[in-house]
Symmetry: C2
Subunit: 209 residues, 2 copies
DNA sequence: TGTACATCAGTGAACGCGCGTTCACTGATGTAC
DNA sequence: TGTACATCAGTGAACGCGCGTTCACTGATGTAC
C-alpha cells in the first residue's frame, strides 16, 4: 500500500544501499516538519520515501536506529563545520570568534538536528549515541578549548583556565542557539552584538572580581 | 477497565474539581518518568490517577489542554521562585546572584517542566501558551533586568544597557540549566564557580573590548 | 424524621486510527554456462 | 549468443497494541418537601 503520490524507481542491483540514505533524509525531513523526533516512525518514513514499511528493516534493525544514525551524522557534521571555521582563520581572536559563529550558524540552520544532539528521549533508555567522552575529546569541543588557549598563548586573554572558559562559553552559545530557535519572536538584540558580548566577556576576561 | 493496582475513592459531592489537580500531578509524574511530554496521553494519565479515560473530559477539553496547563503552572511557579529569591536579599549584587541561583535551582529541581517551557512540539501548532510578550513583561525576566539595573544604580556595574545584559545572562543561564540536565556526566567545573563567572562576566562588566 | 429525586462523579464498551514488527512472497536483473 | 537461475530489492497482508474520543449509562449523595 503506497498511499503517497511518490513514485520511486527500484534501485538497480548492487545499489540497494542507496535506500539507507534516502531513509535518513526522509527521517530528517519529518523531524524538520514537526520539530519532534516522535514523528519519525517507520511507517511515516516509508511513506515519505515511497517504499513499504518492512523495506526499512533491510537497512536499519529497528525504528530507533534511524534516529541514532541521525544523531551520529549530526555530531559529525557539526564537528566538520567547527574545524572548517577554525582552519579558515589564523589570527587567534578571529579564529575563536569564527568558531563561535559557526556553532551558532549550524544550530540556526539545523535547529532540529542540533536539538536532538542534546535531548532525545526516544533514545535515552540506555545507550547514549554521543558519549560525554566523545564530546570532551572531540574536535567539536576541542576547537573551543584550543581557540581560547591560542588567545592566551598570544597574550590576548588573561585567562588561566581554557577548559573552564570553554565550558562557560559553550554554555552560553548553547543557550543562545536554543533560545533563538525556540523563541524567535523574543526581541533579540542584534546578533553580532550578542555574539561579541558572549565571546569576549566569557573567553577573554580576567578571572571574575 | 482499571488495570492499575491503584484504588481511588470517588470524590464527595462538590469536590469533583479535586480530580483536576490529581490529573495534572499524574501528568507531571509521567513527564518526569520518561522525560518526554509525548508520554502524557489521556489513557496513561487516567491509569495513573486510577480513573477511566473519559473521566478526564470533565476537567480538560482534550489531551493537549493538560500539557498547556502544566506549562502555565510551571511559568507561574518559576516566576514565584525568582521573585522570592529577589525579595530575600537587599544588597544589589547578592540579589542578582540569588536570582540566578534560583533560576538554576528551579531548572535542576524540575528539569522536565523547565524544558517544556521552551520547547513543546505537542503544543507548537498554533497557540503559544506563554507568549513572548508575557515573558518579556513578566516578573520572571523582569527580575533579571531589574537586578542588573539595581547594580548599575548602585555603581556596581559599568553596564549601560540592562536589557542587553539581561539577555546575555539569561542566555547563559538557560544554556547552563539545559546542558546540566541533559549532560550530567560532563566534567562540569564546580557549580558556584561557573555561576559566579557567568553572572559577573555577563552582568557586571564594561562593554566588550 | 423519612423518603423521593435531581445531580454529581464518574464508568464501560465501542469506534477507527497509526504504530512496530513478522512472514511468506514476487518480480526484475545480472551472471554462469 | 541464448538461456536457466540465483540473488537482490523490495511488497502486501496480517498480528496485536495503545491511542483519542463518543456515547449511553450507573450508582452514590445530598437536598427539598
Amino acid at each position: 500500500v503506497n498511499s503517497s503520490s511518490i513514485t520511486r524507481e527500484r534501485n538497480r542491483r548492487g545499489e540497494g544501499a542507496k535506500l539507507g540514505d534516502e531513509i535518513l533524509a526522509a527521517a530528517v525531513g519529518l523531524l524538520d516538519e514537526t520539530g519532534s523526533e516522535e514523528s519519525i516512525t517507520l511507517r511515516a518514513v516509508a511513506r515519505r520515501v515511497g517504499i513499504s514499511a518492512p523495506s526499512i528493516y533491510a537497512h536499519f534493525p529497528d525504528a530507533e536506529a534511524i534516529v541514532r544514525e541521525i544523531v551520529r551524522n549530526t555530531f559529525a557534521d557539526l564537528t566538520v563545520a567547527l574545524v572548517a571555521a577554525r582552519d579558515a582563520e589564523s589570527e587567534p581572536l578571529r579564529r575563536l570568534r569564527a568558531g563561535c559563529q559557526a556553532y551558532l550558524d549550524f544550530a540556526a540552520a539545523e535547529p532540529n538536528r542540533y536539538r536532538i544532539l542534546f535531548h532525545c528521549p526516544m533514545l535515552d533508555a540506555g545507550t547514549e549515541v554521543v558519549s560525554v567522552a566523545d564530546l570532551v575529546g572531540s574536535n567539536a569541543f576541542g576547537t573551543l578549548v584550543d581557540g581560547i588557549a591560542d588567545c592566551i598563548a598570544a597574550g590576548l586573554s588573561p585567562s588561566t583556565d581554557p577548559f573552564f572558559d570553554a565550558v562557560a562559553l559553550w554554555t552560553a552559545l548553547h543557550g543562545y542557539a536554543s533560545l533563538q530557535a525556540d523563541s524567535p519572536n523574543f526581541p533579540w538584540p542584534p546578533h553580532s552584538a550578542l555574539l561579541d558580548a558572549l565571546t569576549s566577556r566569557l573567553a577573554l576576561v580576567p578571572k571574575p572580581v
